[in-house]
Amino acid sequence: MVKFSEDKLKEVQSMIDRYPEGKQKSALIPLLHLAQEEFGGWLSAETMDYVGSLLGIEPIEVYEVATFYSMYNLQPVGKHVFEVCHTGPCMLKGSDDIIGYIKSTLGIKVGETTADGMFTLKTVECLGACGYAPMMQMGIDYREHLTETKVDEIIAACRNKQ
């Protein structure tokens, strides 16, 4: 059963309060972020229906939005998601090599999750860190100036955290 805790429900209310009365639909995008964080890193249909019910909107309005934005995961993902940028400026600085290195190190293709459910590799389009390329996003953090050594360190740190 998908349900926010009392504390989180207070947070939800404060999100809704940012908008004039009757405009609570505006809270949909922040609310989906919160739901994704809370309910396993992805948005199931059940989660989305729950979010819709909190805002008093139809489920389809939630699906339309959730499928539009690239940060929402509509399928389960690994514990750590590597989102490596491969747009022009990062490409100029060797992002293809970094992606290749992560693929071979983790033994997965882009879009896949390791068998142990630890890592998911995704490629993403420009994240606004062009001067610090190559880079990737991990959760809310950016990892910049990536090298093979740095990737090794990140992977090791993730494994140790477990």
């Binding site: 249909a45 139809e58 389809i60 309005e61 339309e64 499928t67």
Partner: protein
């Protein structure tokens, strides 16, 4: 004029017309009629907020208005641009428009499956018409066309996403006609699609209207699926007492059989009055309806073939037209073929001729 309506002058392809303030270029063109009317694939006058997306109705504004005569820098969507007093618009007289529209038609057809031979919309498809009018004979696209996972929308509505041009009309219809929308546009960009996300049938009593507003064969009537080609059916206007809707419909008949029920459409292909699902899907017997008479079909439409509206036998005979001269037959077909046997009166055959009818008549004869 009963009350003073403020009007403005607008000139489209050198034809000037007075229109009420707030009229769009497209509406003004429709008031003039004929060839100056830009084609519209997504705009629908009865659906608020529609239009602007497909870009087929782009026109050139060569003069903004009397007050500001500067031309508009880009082509504009005529369906969403209001006229100004003294505005001058070029549609078919603008090479720029023709070029852009050719491009738009190519884009719309780029990933279209061109499965007209098996598409129920064929014959009344706006994309087909547009393709004939502006399209080229071949495609320059050499890659695999886009496909989608199939979704079932329930017993009444058949969805073929590959044919969809994302006009959004069905979304507006569900928003504006029903109390609860359960389908929408999912994903974005070139893989955006019409879907419900979780398998769900569309069952609102007015949802059937999405079939009528769909300009292509993306949403078709499941109860009519593969039953017949529209140009073999005969549209007649009919009505019945209905508690939910006006009950004014078009029946598409083959002989006495009602194959399909749709709303009545105007000359722009737009629904005149919305109808309910009961009228559309459940009333398939002639006895359910009071027949008014044949539906007017544009003579340019393929549906007009085999469709006899207001048939009047010509008074003049062939000989009279030719000033008393009898045509000289180079070859008498009957002497070389049995197919057009003069003993069979084709006008006696009920409905369009088929081999069954023919064989039956020949045997009798």
């Amino acid at each position: 004029m009963a009350e003073a309506v403020k009007t403005v002058k607008v000139t489209i392809d050198n034809i000037t017309v007075d229109v009420p303030v707030g009229t769009t270029i497209l509406q003004a063109a429709r008031m003039i009629g004929g060839d100056v009317v830009p084609p519209a694939m997504c705009y629908y006058s009865k659906l608020q907020g529609s239009g602007g997306k497909c870009r087929t109705c782009l026109v050139e504004v060569s003069k903004g208005s009397e007050a500001d005569p500067r031309p508009m820098p880009k082509l504009v969507a005529s369906c969403r641009t209001g006229v100004m007093d003294g505005m001058e618009v070029k549609n078919m007289t603008s090479p720029k428009v023709e070029d852009a529209r050719n491009g738009v038609v190519e884009f719309l057809l780029l990933n279209h499956p061109l499965d007209c031979p098996v598409c129920d919309q064929a014959g009344e498809c706006h994309l087909q018409d547009l393709g004939y009018q502006h399209g080229k004979q071949g495609t320059r696209y050499e890659f695999k066309r886009r496909t989608f996972e199939k979704h079932d929308l329930g017993p009444y509505i058949q969805l073929h996403m590959t044919r969809c041009i994302l006009c959004y009309r069905c979304v507006f219809t569900a928003d504006q006609l029903t109390d609860k929308r359960s389908h929408g546009i999912l994903s974005r960009g070139d893989h955006a699609e019409i879907a419900t996300y979780i398998e769900k049938s569309l069952d609102n009593n007015f949802i059937g209207n999405v079939i009528d507003v769909c300009p292509v064969g993306a949403l078709t009537d499941k109860t009519f699926r593969f039953k017949n080609r529209v140009w073999f059916t005969k549209p007649v206007n009919a009505h019945r007492e209905c508690k939910c809707c006006s009950g004014k419909v078009t029946l598409w008949q083959r002989g006495e059989e009602v194959l399909r029920v749709t709303a009545r459409k105007d000359q722009w292909g737009e629904v005149e009055e919305w109808i309910c699902n009961e009228c559309r899907f459940e009333k398939k017997k002639t006895t359910d309806w009071t027949i008014e008479g044949p539906t007017h079909v544009s003579r340019h439409s393929v549906i007009s073939q085999g469709h006899y509206e207001n048939t009047i036998k010509p008074k003049e005979t062939f000989t009279a037209v030719h000033g008393g001269r009898n045509p000289q037959l180079l070859m008498d077909i009957h002497s070389v073929s049995e197919v057009n046997d003069p003993s069979i009166d084709l006008s006696q055959i009920n409905g369009p001729a088929t081999s069954d009818v023919y064989n039956h008549s020949t045997k009798q004869a």
